[in-house]
Homo-oligomer: 155 residues x 2
């Protein structure tokens, strides 16, 4: 499909005047590598001492090669990514499906993509697709989040 | 409704021989009060420094009386409760709806209730209703979690 030149100019114009405003399809990524000290620190603050995260035999019995990173620590990537671009963002909901184990030392890429947005009381209600990958393209955590952003301007 | 005496005996017998095994409807509760040091420790390990959790003006602009506890820190109550009764539990999914803000110093009661269960590869696939309350009965966080338990025996 070829767009009328008037519309093409209009799109270009929008992208020129609002280069730093959130648009549908915008994707933000951050990578992390979790270490044993991270897991210990997380356990201390969450009080979650599930041996699955520390004990090799427990992890093996559960079907994993090694102790695994806490799921909620992994999921913390999503509000971190959103709020680093939109300070003051308020989380309304999050769903999480844990697809694959994440081991200490693995590089994890968290990705957050704006998939719907509407104005809401002078703020912005935005739904994000929230996913984590390892080994480039292996999906380890899938889900969606809904947040209220105070502005669509990116930091 | 009056149960036949044979059934009553059967129920009693089950409860006598399996007093420490998970049953549908079993509910586990744990309370926590989050402090500013907890929020700081959580921010350090999650790298989530959203000013909503530390800056009074930012919280006010977002419509809250004070800075609020990180949602994912609150949500960490659920795997903590489940794994404290079932060490080695593996999280498969969690959904979260944040209903009310949680402030520093508020007593939060996390509740996890077994709402469905089935055998799964010599283990047990259990769906839990997962909720947090403050002020006794004010729902602040609602959702469900699915986990694989290595055993139904309670610790």
């Amino acid at each position: 499909m070829t767009l009328p030149s008037r519309l093409v100019k209009s799109f270009k114009f929008c992208s020129i005047i609002n280069p730093n405003f959130l648009k549908l399809g915008d994707t933000f990524k951050q990578t992390r590598v979790f270490s044993m000290p991270h897991l210990l620190d997380y356990s201390k603050v969450s009080l979650d001492f599930n041996p699955l995260h520390f004990d090799a035999d427990c992890a093996l019995t559960a079907g994993f090669q090694h102790p695994i990173v806490h799921g909620m620590l992994l999921a913390s990537l999503f509000p971190r990514i959103i709020s680093s671009h939109f300070p003051g963002a308020v989380y309304l909901s999050q769903n999480l499906q844990f697809k694959q184990p994440v081991y200490i030392g693995e590089e994890i890429c968290g990705e957050v993509e704006a998939i719907s947005m509407r104005d809401f009381k002078k703020k912005h209600l935005v739904k994000f697709s929230t996913r984590c990958f390892k080994q480039d393209s292996l999906l380890v955590l899938d889900g969606e989040a809904m947040a209220i952003l105070p502005t669509l301007q990116l930091e």
